[in-house]
């Protein structure tokens, strides 16, 4: 997509300048007052811009105009000869060159033979030589501002290339050497489009109208103009009119289709029909079908040969069918016919008119105007001039290619905070941590001592490690089933529509909001063996509660209890979101089949919520490995190391014992475990997670 550029005072000025130029160029000459009226700019703005343009030589005064009372206004005109444009039309056997002023007035013309089988380097050289010749012929030596090239086939305008031209038998032809040689833009366009563009300039159709330019000859071409703009389609190929299929299972076309319009409405049709008629013995003045050319056919028709006339008439009818389809599609103001083929004259036109007389709009609207372009071969050249000038004076709303400095600065500025953070607090630390993990370092005394994997060996061989890992796995084994069961239960409850659900939801969520330090202090006190609330309640039920955090075997269950209490609201809400995503039609179907609530829960709800449960499991396992504040506040790893876990160890080694290298290694071991646990779960999910397809 093309990048739009921003607007500011300077660009608005630029925009107005172009607006004025375009008005003068297309509608001039006119007075300053008329310009102000039509462009809706202030008179002072107009005066200012005109002064500038006159200084630049782009506008000249042409004397006094008609007065509508009062002083005669001074008329202004766009000065086309301030610069030159070269227009080129490439035909199967020759190339037409022209030098024009900015108003499309042809000042010099030339033609060169198109050598068959020439390679692209030779062709580009041929173009360069001829263009140079034209420029030398200019007595005023107006500067060249652009080169326009009209060519049949599919073009890539952005890259100045012909992608494919069956008539010229070209595949990927690049004009950039020409552009580089003259250091001006080369604009390539499909010839039918330049034909259409030229119509506005030659006054055949008003500006900003919608019309179709149709060319007949060796091929059949179409330029679609909508609201004064050539419609080029998404990739620049719009208007392949010749390959509209008008005959089911018709004559095979070189494009691979059958029954293309081009097979029925181009020179090819007229010639092959004449040959067929001669072979059938139809009386005609045309003889010797082998050396017959299309010109012979036209001449014969002019001389009154009925056979030739009827064939051209038939060709016109075929073309008319195609045009009728276009009329129904575009509802255009006019159709302008051009190209070599219009030499078929009144016979061709009669055929077209017959078909065009009936179309969808015929009853209610004025008939579509069918006009014949009489400008001859110049029309293509004028079109290429229009191509270049329109490009130069297009509204300046698109950015010139490439990233502007402004954009680069913006990107840099917007990313700067994150990039600094990424470097300082993520990339450098990760690297440092990796390095530290291979060293022994106590922060205070000297540089880190490098000793390869010793830390990792020491950690794993230490009798503490199996305990730490065991404690963590024990926590996971207790916590995960409890938290999953409890959150699922709470979520199912909250998924009802009874009054008061909102209040329950709020209540269940309060522990989630509590800081872990406050919650851990609370639970330490709740689990106090003698004076705590939990054992007091158990005592009411006649149970003597355990000594919880003071007991090696009950400390971890105590921490699990606190963790479940704090986290259940959080996970319940996530599961609830999953539950609410289940399609209610499943339940309706189950109800019809007579399922009770338990069946619905186990057969529909649980299977369909498994993706959410899986997500919850992944997060809670990761969180479990990172267990810290509850341990730190409630037990500090005790009693007797029964609640020592990874992060608690890392914290103590790093910030109590200042064994930085050792702690860093510990953190990488933690990373490996988290990573492995996540990978294992991703593997296992296939066995229990049910994804709706």
């Amino acid at each position: 997509m093309r990048q739009l550029r921003g607007g500011n005072r300077k660009r608005i000025k630029e925009h107005n300048r172009i607006l004025v130029i375009n008005h003068l160029r297309l509608h001039g000459p006119m007075s300053r007052a008329d310009l102000a009226r039509y462009t809706e700019l202030g008179l002072s703005t107009i005066t200012y811009i005109i002064d500038e343009l006159m200084d630049d030589g782009l506008v000249v005064e042409t004397g006094a105009g008609e007065s509508s009372g009062g002083r005669k206004p001074t008329m202004l005109e766009f000065n086309g000869s301030v610069a030159a444009v070269v227009g080129i039309k490439i035909e199967p056997t020759r190339i037409l060159f022209s030098r024009m002023n900015l108003l499309g007035k042809i000042q010099q013309k030339a033609a060169a033979e198109l050598p068959p089988e020439a390679d692209s380097a030779a062709l580009n050289q041929l173009l360069i030589d001829n263009i140079s010749g034209l420029l030398e012929g200019d007595v005023n030596s107006a500067p060249l501002v652009g080169i326009g090239i009209a060519v049949s086939g599919l073009v890539d305008q952005a890259h100045g290339k012909v992608l494919y031209s069956p008539i010229l038998a070209w595949d990927e032809f690049d004009f950039t050497p020409v552009s580089r040689h003259f250091d001006v833009p080369v604009i390539v366009e499909n010839d039918a489009n330049t034909f259409a563009l030229a119509q506005v300039w030659t006054g055949m159709v008003p500006h900003h109208s919608s019309f179709l330019g149709v060319t007949v000859g060796v091929g059949v071409g179409l330029g679609i103009v909508i609201d004064g703009q050539v419609f080029r389609g998404e990739h620049g190929g719009a208007g392949e009119f010749g390959h509209l299929v008008i005959q089911h299972e018709g004559a095979p076309c070189y494009c691979g289709q059958r029954g293309c319009l081009e097979m029925y409405a181009s020179d090819h049709f007229a010639l092959s029909e004449v040959k067929r008629h001669i072979a059938l013995g139809v009386p005609t003045i045309l003889g010797d079908s082998d050396s017959l050319t299309i010109n012979d056919v036209y001449e014969a028709a002019e001389q009154g040969d009925r056979c030739a006339q009827s064939i051209i008439y038939k060709q016109g009818q075929n073309l008319g069918i195609g045009l009728k389809n276009l009329v129904n599609l575009f509802n255009p103001a006019a159709i302008i016919l051009g190209g070599e083929g219009i030499r078929g004259g009144k016979h061709l036109l009669r055929g077209i008119e017959l078909e065009l007389a009936t179309n969808f709009f015929a009853k209610k609207q004025q008939p579509v105007q069918l006009k014949v372009c009489s400008t001859g071969e110049d029309v293509w050249l004028i079109g290429t001039c229009a191509l270049v000038v329109n490009q130069i004076y297009r509204a300046p709303i698109f950015k010139p290619g490439g990233l502007g400095m402004n954009r680069r600065l913006t990107i840099f500025f917007f990313l700067l905070p994150s990039l600094v953070g990424l470097l300082l607090f993520s990339i450098i630390p990760i690297g440092t941590s990796l390095y530290l993990s291979l060293t022994e370092w106590d922060v205070i005394g000297g540089a880190p001592k490098f000793h390869w994997l010793k830390n990792f060996r020491d950690i794993i061989q230490n009798e503490e490690f199996p305990r730490v890992l065991g404690n963590t796995l024990y926590f996971i084994a207790l916590y995960i089933p409890l938290i999953l069961g409890a959150s699922l239960l709470v979520a199912v409850l909250l998924n009802n529509k009874y009054p008061g659900v909102g209040l329950y939801r709020t209540i269940y969520y309060v522990p989630v909001l509590t800081s872990w330090v406050a919650a851990a202090l609370l639970w330490k006190w709740l689990l106090n063996p003698r004076y705590g609330a939990i054992n007091a309640i158990l005592g009411m039920a006649g149970i003597t509660g355990p000594s919880w955090l003071h007991s090696k075997s009950w400390a971890m269950p105590g921490i699990v209890l606190a963790s479940v209490w704090k986290d259940v609201g959080y996970f319940a809400l996530i599961i609830l979101a999953g539950l609410q995503g289940i399609d209610t039609s499943y339940y309706e179907a189950a109800e019809i089949d007579g399922a009770n609530w338990f069946k619905k829960l186990t057969r529909i709800t649980v299977p369909l919520v498994t993706p959410t449960l899986f997500f919850v499991t992944i997060i809670s396992v990761i969180n479990s490995f990172q267990l810290f504040p509850q341990v730190m506040v409630m037990t500090e790893g005790g009693p007797g190391g029964a609640t020592q876990v990874f992060v608690e160890r890392i914290y103590n080694y790093a910030f109590r014992y200042y064994k930085m290298g050792y702690a860093a290694s510990y953190s990488w071991i933690l990373f490996v475990f988290i990573f492995a646990a996540t990978l294992i779960q991703l593997q296992l999910q296939k066995r229990w997670v049910h994804y709706e397809s």
Binding site: P429, Y509, V517
Partner: protein
């Protein structure tokens, strides 16, 4: 209403209330304890309702520890962290969502990859970076790392991608620069996700324990969780004191929650990935 439906309804309220009881009982215990005199803590049978009610704990809390200061510190750190995260991440997210440039996707992938490394790995070097920069025991030190938050960038970028390009193009034509588009279009249209992000960031910073514990050593700079844990080590058996402190630390978040319940719940569910 059918009999079955009545039973279901009864079942709902029964279960919901039992769970609510287990949820609230600890808080009741917390309030009750905080209102006990020190002597009433170690009394059997356990006193559910304190008699007499004593505000002793609250008074002593503020005299033993600069608790008012800790509340202010926490508020400041949490607000500043939120502001930094929201600003820095939304700026980066805007570029990743809307301004194409070569290497953008590679850079974004790098951002995402850092999310895989747990905080404990970078914690030690981050401490060393702050130490090297002389930022230990300062608020700036606590705040600095939040300038990079890959999760927030990811979350916002996903959201901003949904904003139609036509809006920024229209603004460009009207003369807006990238900064103006960010301020006038991207940020206003990202309000829902920005509020959700603000809420979880604020809450995360308010409740954060490990990082401030590492960085802060000065009592006057401690945040509430660090202050509370310090109280715990110094007055570990004076639970009326600890419970009063815990309650006070909860209040601001609870107040915020009642005003912005929707944003909290949204924020925490999307924040799920953060872990």
């Amino acid at each position: 209403m059918s009999r079955r439906e009545q039973i279901r309804r009864l079942g709902f309220y029964l279960f919901a209330s039992i769970i609510a009881f287990f949820n609230l009982m600890p808080f009741f215990w917390m309030v009750s304890t905080s209102l006990k005199a020190r002597g009433a803590l170690l009394v059997l049978p356990v006193q559910w309702i304190p008699s007499p009610v004593s505000f002793d704990a609250y008074e002593r809390l503020f005299s033993l520890f600069p608790f008012g200061r800790a509340i202010f510190n926490s508020l400041f750190v949490a607000s500043a962290t939120t502001a930094i995260v929201v600003l820095s991440s939304s700026m980066a997210a805007y570029v990743f969502a809307k301004i194409p440039f070569r290497g953008r996707d590679t850079l974004f992938t790098l951002f995402l990859m850092t999310m895989m490394i747990p905080g404990q790995v970078t914690m030690i070097p981050n401490f060393l970076v702050l130490r090297y920069l002389g930022l230990l025991n300062s608020f700036l030190g606590i705040l600095a790392p939040s300038v990079f938050n890959a999760f927030a960038v990811f979350l916002l970028r996903q959201n901003m991608r949904g904003i139609p390009d036509a809006l920024s193009e229209a603004a460009l034509i009207d003369g807006a620069g990238y900064a103006a588009i960010y301020v006038r279009i991207i940020v206003p249209l990202s309000k829902p996700v920005l509020s959700a992000l603000s809420v979880i960031t604020f809450m995360g910073a308010w409740n954060d324990y490990l990082w401030p514990l590492i960085v802060l050593t000065d009592r006057a700079k401690m945040t509430l969780p660090v202050g509370l844990s310090l109280l715990n080590t110094q007055y570990g058996n004076q639970y009326n004191l600890l419970m009063a402190g815990g309650l006070i630390s909860m209040l601001p978040i609870l107040i915020l929650y009642f005003f912005a319940q929707k944003h909290f719940e949204q924020g925490l569910s999307i924040g799920g990935i953060k872990g």
